[in-house]
Amino acid sequence: MLETCVGVWTDRHFPIEAMAEQCKALQDSGVVDGVLIPDQLAGFIPRQLWTPENAPMAGAIADPDSAMDAFMVAPYVHAAAPRLNLHLTTDSVRRGPAQLIQSMLTLAHMTGGRANFQIGGGEAKQLRPFGYPTNQGMSRLKDLLQIYRAMLDDQGPFDFEGKRWSFSRAFLGGARQHLPTVWGLGGGPQLTDYVTSWADGIAIAVPNALSSPRAVADAVGEMRDQVERKGRDPESFRIGLWATVLIHPDPAAIESACENPVIKFVSAATGRVDSRQWKDEGLQLPFPDGWAYFKDLLPYNTSDQLVRDIVAATTEEHVRRAWMTGSPSEIADQITPYLEAGIDWVMPIDYLPVVGDPVEAPASIGWMIELCAALKKAVG
């Protein structure tokens, strides 16, 4: 059975009640199983591009970065729409393992075990401006996952000696009525190695990290092999997909988005996670060699020139390859082949509302529900 999830955009400019209503609508649709709340300190849009010309919403709110604390929003969302599964994203750097695991256990307790946490190595935009180290994501993830496993598996206090953390007779209590699930978020050999060793699953972005159904099938096979080689049950290891989409039934709206500087920049920066992928696909790099959004993008510290250069170098082909586009049913047709490798969790992420007419926001939610319905129908 395919599990669907929809990401919610938390923003302190808007009344919290609006998010509650959105989540209720998703819940009541009957085709959306969960919501994902991102733990973001900063978004993807350089300050230079946040203008009413590029994004009408910029006329109403001064910045796209006033995100709410995901761990505080999650219980509110759960109270508003208790049948939705909760998914949170965070990274391995900003919260210490003990606090993070306690939060995870708390949300698992509140939701009756329907709390899932997707954890990556951290993006520079969440780390560097705020004084967090930018070179420790993988070693911290390794420690975190091992500690998580020890916390769940050990019956009492335990010791841990890792690269970043040392625990001595550490114990968060023995209550285990409901447990969370932890997935890795992202890709790359090192993250995959850690996740297949200790996590419950992984979420991967398509077409950004894996740009074809074949690539997903290969990766799924390799990951399940790794899990099995490590003496774990490969079938209980879950693999989910984030699918980046631009939904609109009117092709003219998609055409327009392809020319939008915000969409162009985000397409260039995140369209392929590893810049080698753009080259492998025969497209010019739309940014300097060696630049990568996860280690270099700083929305408030990227030069005007670099932003201009990236937007200018981004072609319609880059944009078209960075997103699945079209009406809900057209996008469902594009996503479905990616799910055929045994994927049972999918989260479409629609970026068009960020630059679209705010009047269309309710329609966007409706299109997302249509898309989830089409995916469930296609996959079962």
């Binding site: 790359g188 050999p189 060696g290």
Partner: protein, 359 residues
């Protein structure tokens, strides 16, 4: 700033950025790297005998407050070169970034021992701080590698290579792929720049060997591609005896991880044996040492890799240290010392094993 104020009394050859290293920064780094209670009172820097080629390096002497527990008396600080040429080379080759990744994110998984990391700077204003291995015996490439040390090193290499044999981690973005155009192009160019100097060695090398190198040099990209064919594993990739220290019990500790790469395991073996072992020892011991390495691979779980494969790959990959020797001779523009050792050993070994015909 004086030593009493917490500044550094600088040695004359130490990079100004390492001279100006902030006492509080060092204290904070030590506190988050295994010395949680130290109080750094003063710093002093001295140059190392061997300066860094692309980056700057110095020994930092640390004085601690008397009331608090002490940390290491000295650490080694490494930072990117500040001048335009070296900074440009570092940026192109991502040397500091790669070494920082190794110490921050990978060293504890690596089967080869390395210095403990004691601080993780950005490489521009703050350095990498590493355990000072001065109390260990340093390898001496010019003097040559004793057979006993060679044995311990091939044992360590076998454990490392077996652990990462055809591992997905070979595709980790920080890991050098030797056929990357930027890397391979630079290597091929350096090799060809050194070829004219080879004639200075006619009195000590068979004429046929030098002729063979001259014929092969224009095709050095082919050499690199042939050497990089599978099976792949994770390599140190710059393995010279000068990059190895030995503990009291003889365990090798490997430094200089700026080029950690993925290629055939024999590349590390060929590098260290052909580049660092005196030729008579090499002639007598290369095959037993390679056999010992291969046995170690099998013991570590490697399958479907025969000793014949290993020998065939070894014969090919000893061309790699020869290329390094040629490049070094070209760069130093003359004979003697390290250049002689780095060139003549692999040149004669390649001639002995007819490596030139393997491409």
């Amino acid at each position: 700033m004086t030593v009493e104020e917490g500044g550094i009394a600088a040695g004359p050859q130490v990079s100004p950025r390492l001279q100006a290293l902030d006492r509080k920064w060092v204290e904070n780094e030590l506190r988050s790297h295994g010395y949680p209670d130290v109080e750094v009172a003063a710093l002093r820097s001295t140059p190392l005998a061997t300066p860094g080629a692309v980056g700057d390096i110095a020994r930092i002497h640390i004085e601690y407050g008397s009331a608090a527990p002490a940390g290491p008396a000295t650490v080694i600080a490494k930072i990117r070169g500040a001048d335009e040429q070296r900074a440009g080379m570092d940026a192109a080759m991502r040397l500091y970034e790669r070494e920082l990744w190794f110490y921050s994110e990978f060293a504890d998984q690596c089967r080869l021992a390395s210095p403990r990391c004691l601080g993780e700077g950005d490489g521009t204003t703050t350095p990498l701080l590493l355990q000072d291995l001065a109390d260990m015996r340093a390898g001496d490439q010019v003097a040559g590698m004793p057979v006993a040390d060679a044995g311990r090193i091939v044992d360590a290499l076998a454990a490392q290579h077996a652990a990462f044999w055809e591992s997905p981690l070979c595709d980790e973005p920080h890991v050098v792929q030797p056929t990357e155009p930027l890397i391979a192009g630079a290597v091929a160019q350096l090799v060809n720049s050194g070829v004219p100097a080879l004639r200075e060695y006619e009195d000590r090398a068979p004429a046929g060997a030098i002729d063979a190198v001259e014929r092969l040099a224009p095709r050095w990209m082919d050499v690199l591609h042939a050497c990089a064919e599978g099976p792949h594993t994770l390599l140190h990739n710059d393995l010279r005896l000068d990059n190895v220290f030995f503990t009291d019990d003889g365990t090798p500790v490997f430094v200089d991880w700026q080029m950690i790469g993925a290629s055939r395991g024999t590349q590390d073996v060929g590098n260290i044996l052909a580049g660092s072992m005196n030729i008579e020892d090499l002639r007598q011991h290369w095959e037993p040492l390679l056999r010992r390495y291969h046995d170690g691979l099998l013991a570590g779980g490697v399958r479907d890799y025969s000793f014949d494969d290993c020998v065939r790959h070894y014969r090919q990959t000893i061309l790699y240290p020869l290329g390094q020797g040629i490049a070094l001779v070209g760069a130093l523009a003359g004979r003697g010392g390290l250049a002689d050792a780095a060139l003549l050993r692999p040149l004669l070994h390649c001639h002995d094993l007819d490596a030139f015909t393997t491409i």
